[in-house]
């Protein structure tokens, strides 16, 4: 139970100062409000900040800037972020990207928390987490103003700082931590995430929503929608749903004729009876009709008999024959349309794993990897032979630099071994008497001891009483919890360490490889579940991009939080495959060839394989979770990897743009404290 004491902002010395700034921005925004003739009476812009920017890809050069506003109407506060028209830093960032991320009047009743990040270098940014558990991509304040933004919110609604993490501001009316937990965990209504279509759908939820949102009155929806529509018109009059569909169609059409036919069929269905039609109508109607129209969207359901449209990926794995066609997104095999029912060949055929002879060709005489990219690509398509893993994994994980020589690595190993011993000694030197007075240590050791004795014990490497490898697991995890004391130990870590120790055998080497892995996956275990939320959010966006009917199905069945994929992501599918297969999957994921986030495409690929079953059997959340858990051991890894590769290529930059910067396993954006729990003097 979170025994959270919430810190009020008013205890902060800087708070008063920030109020000053807050009112300055109000004055400025007031004038801008009047200039906008379409702003309805009663809606007041209480905060306005220009040059608030998102980075849709991992490259800082790609950004979309816009205007962030807080709008007050009656007792309700809304947040909007509208990108500027035609000012992309990069021509590749199309209007579609802008639409994908636009925040159109999201009420604070739908927001759970705001996390503030203050990198030592670069701009301050915030991440807005919705009560559904999903989050918007980070909003970077190029002109500063985060403090002022938070102070303004504080003036209008109940905002408290989490005692657990001084950078998290909980937006809620509940003071009771339990109630807060409860309310923050409500599973999705249709989630209004950064997308033109779903944003309208969020409005469609209000008729059935008897909570605070509803209490504010229908007028809010109507009047605010005119703001939205106005903003949209100013950008460009077009239909985002249609755009997205066309975009995916374009991508798919590059793959195969078959795919093109299938997807166009899917989208035709989707447009004629689905959301697209409503959305178009909606644009041409006045704001008064908006609410009513939205209600009609809400009625839309998956038909009872569920005629599930076929999907190229859900069929059984298929022959590898066929010629190859070069397109501008890569090389694909052409498929004979007569074979439609049996076929799905997208990704390249898997190759045999990298063996010692071939490995030698990647190294120069002193042991440097001459072409890192080629090596990663090679491993992506075939993995590594088991006896070579001990050596190759150290590069994949980033423990050894690719340009290091044999001698340098040998030296590093020695240095690191002594460093490991030093850290290990920190807990080994704790006497029993000291431990009695050191609850945190005892608790931590207790957690680890409980878990290591039940980690992969059926494997001969870990089986039997007093198995020394089990003790090594314990020692390494306990040492890690001292190395990264802020993060500590968390269930799931033993699953991540087990294969590493199995391959590396050596204690210190395993430790440092684990450290490297945790540099990327550590956020999975954050107390506030941030790392998991951002990945689940990205997954929902990818499914929306790559399989609209499945996305709609999840939406209608309250499954958009994707918690049924929690285990997949938290421990990188460790429980889903046989041990050896997990090793293969991990080394493929670690190459980061095509994407750092291939694991999310693996999720999409698996879901697509079973989409017909999921939708056909009308699985609800419970059944779905049970079904997904029971897929363990049933998934054909090679086939899934091929699908994932194809999906990743199909999704292209739009897929990449669906994944917020800093989403694990990307390295954290902050260059400062990784797991900052320190007090913070700003607010």
């Amino acid at each position: 139970m979170h025994e959270t004491e919430l810190n009020d902002l008013s205890d902060d010395a800087d708070y008063a100062a920030s109020l000053q700034q807050g009112s300055a921005s109000m004055t400025r925004s007031d004038s801008s409000r009047r200039s906008s003739s379409s702003e309805p009476d009663g809606a007041e812009v209480v905060y306005l900040k220009d040059n608030v920017t998102i980075h849709p890809t991992q490259y800082a050069s790609e950004r979309i800037s816009g205007r962030l506003k807080l709008i007050k109407q009656g007792a309700s506060l809304f947040i909007t972020w509208i990108p500027y028209k035609g000012q992309s830093s990069n021509a590749k960032l199309s209007e579609r990207d802008k639409n994908l991320y636009t925040i159109r009047a999201v009420p604070f009743t739908e927001i759970r928390s705001i996390r503030r990040h203050t990198p030592t270098l670069g701009w301050q940014y915030i991440i807005v987490v919705l009560s559904s558990g999903l989050a918007f991509p980070p909003l970077y304040f190029y002109n500063g103003g985060v403090r002022e933004f938070l102070a303004t919110i504080k003036q209008h609604i109940f905002l408290v700082r989490s005692a657990e993490d001084a950078n998290v501001f909980v937006v809620n009316d509940f003071q009771d931590p339990l109630q807060r937990t409860l309310s923050s965990l409500e599973l999705p209504r249709a989630v209004p995430v950064a997308n033109g279509r779903s944003s309208s759908l969020s409005a469609s939820e209000s008729p059935t929503d008897k909570n605070q949102v509803r209490a504010d009155g229908v007028a809010v929806d109507g009047s605010l929608s005119s703001i939205q529509n106005n903003g949209r018109q100013r950008q460009k009059m077009h239909d985002p749903a249609r755009d997205l569909s066309i975009h995916v169609l374009e991508k798919f059409s590059l793959v195969t004729r078959f795919a093109r036919e299938t997807t166009s069929q899917l989208f035709r269905e989707n447009h004629s009876e689905g959301f697209g039609g409503n959305e178009r109508r909606n644009h041409s109607q006045s704001s008064h009709d908006y609410h009513q129209n939205a209600a009609s969207i809400d009625v839309e359901k998956v038909p009872d008999e569920v005629p599930v449209a076929p999907d190229p990926l859900e069929k059984s794995p298929c022959s590898n024959r066929g010629e190859e066609a070069a397109t501008n997104v890569g090389t694909f095999e052409l498929i004979d349309s007569k074979e439609i029912d049996k076929l799905t060949v997208w990704g390249k055929p898997r190759q045999p794993p990298l063996g010692p002879e071939e490995w030698a060709t990647f190294l120069d005489s002193e042991g440097r990897v001459t072409d890192e990219k080629a090596l990663r690509k090679r491993i992506f398509y075939g993995g590594v032979e088991n006896n070579l893993r001990k050596e190759v994994w150290t590069f994949l994980l980033g423990y050894h630099a690719h340009d290091s020589t044999y001698a340098e690595r040998e030296y590093l190993v020695l240095i690191k071994k002594s460093e490991y011993e030093t850290i290990k000694n920190q807990w080994q030197s704790i006497t029993q008497d000291q431990a009695k007075r050191f609850t945190k240590f005892r608790e931590r050791r207790g957690l680890i001891e409980k878990d290591v004795v039940r980690t992969d014990r059926s494997l001969s490497f870990y089986e039997g009483d007093d198995n020394p490898n089990v003790n090594l697991l314990r020692d390494i995890l306990l040492t890690y919890s001292f190395y990264n004391f802020d993060l500590g130990y968390c269930q799931g870590m033993s699953d991540l360490l087990s294969p590493i120790l199995f391959i590396m055998k050596d204690e210190s080497e395993s430790f440092w490889c684990f450290v490297s892995l945790m540099e990327r996956l550590g956020p999975n275990f954050n107390r506030d579940q941030n790392g998991m939320h951002s990945q689940l959010f990205a997954l929902s966006k990818l499914v929306e991009l790559l399989d609209v009917p499945l996305h709609n199905y999840f939406k209608q069945n309250d499954c958009l939080n994707y918690f049924f994929c929690f285990r997949w992501i938290l421990i990188q599918f460790k429980r889903e495959f046989e041990y050896e297969r997990t090793l293969r999957l991990w080394e493929v994921l670690w190459t980061h060839h095509l994407s750092e986030h291939l694991h999310l495409y693996v999720c999409v690929a698996i879901l697509k394989r079973y989409r017909r079953k999921i939708m056909g059997e009308q699985m609800d959340f419970d059944t779905l979770l049970k079904f997904i858990n029971e897929l363990s051991g049933q998934i054909d890894l090679d086939a899934i990897l091929k699908d994932a590769e194809a999906l990743c290529i199909c999704a292209g930059e739009h897929g990449a743009a669906s994944i917020p910067p800093g989403t694990p396993p990307s390295l954290p954006l902050d260059t400062g404290l990784l797991y900052a729990q320190q007090d913070d003097e700003v607010l």
Binding site: M1, H2, D176, L178, T181, L182, S183, S184, L185, E186, L187, R189, E205, T208, D209, K210, N211, E443, G446, L447, K450, D451, V453, R454, T455, R457, S458, C490, Q491, G492, S494, D495, F525, R527, D528, Q529, N557, D558, C559, N561, F563, F566, R567, L570, I571, R575, D620, F621, D622, T623, L625, K626, N629
Partner: protein, 200 residues
């Protein structure tokens, strides 16, 4: 909530408790009659169902097994919301786990479903020689808090079926004609409040 069909009752049940207390082992014993010495930890949550006959009614339990570590606490409400019954599990050889069980009881009491049937399970009863929590202490606590209490052992199967059976008997039965106040007979909240409900 429990739902009633013709002599059939569907009941959502959630297992809560400290990590390593034996939640998954209890479920595995109840659902499959098995016991694993080294039952792996639960990541996220697991879902099972099992049917048993109690008196005149067949009860189908829809069982949510949750991750025990404090770090994952914030996910628990998603699983216990709307549950008709809860088994709060502790390990009789571990005092801390009993303390943690009490916290779960408090949380469920505050969460405010007065009809929820709550059972306290002192698991690992086979470890008598390592006992740290006396049955008496737990019984008193359970009585004071309106729970029923049993010591169980997933390993020896002691009281495992019994505790589920006892819960089944205690579940509120439907009396459609009278529709007693305070008793909710559907497993989903009415349509209008779905937005705030879990996806169960």
């Amino acid at each position: 909530m429990a739902t009633i069909g013709h002599n059939n009752l569907n009941a959502k049940l959630v297992l809560l408790g400290d990590m390593g207390a034996g939640k998954s082992s209890l479920v595995l014993r109840f659902v499959k009659g098995q016991f694993l010495e080294f039952q792996e930890s639960t990541i996220g949550a697991a879902f099972f169902s099992q049917t048993l006959a109690a008196n005149d009614v067949t009860v189908k339990f829809e069982i949510w097994d949750t991750a025990g570590q404090e770090r994952y606490h914030s996910l628990a409400p998603m699983y216990y919301r709307g549950a008709a019954a809860a088994i709060i599990v502790y390990d009789i050889s571990n005092t801390d786990s009993f303390g943690r069980a009490k916290k779960w009881v408090q949380e469920l009491q505050k969460q405010g479903n007065p009809n929820m049937v709550m059972a306290l399970a002192g698991n690992k009863a086979d470890l008598e020689d390592r006992r740290k929590v006396t049955a008496e202490e737990a019984r008193v606590y359970a009585e004071e808090n309106g729970l029923f209490f049993m010591e169980t052992s997933a390993k020896t199967a002691l009281n495992v079926n019994d505790i589920f059976h006892e819960i089944a008997k205690k579940l509120p039965r439907a009396q459609p004609a009278q529709n007693p106040a305070g008793m909710v007979l559907v497993d989903r909240p009415p349509e209008g409040s779905r937005a705030t409900s879990c996806c169960s």
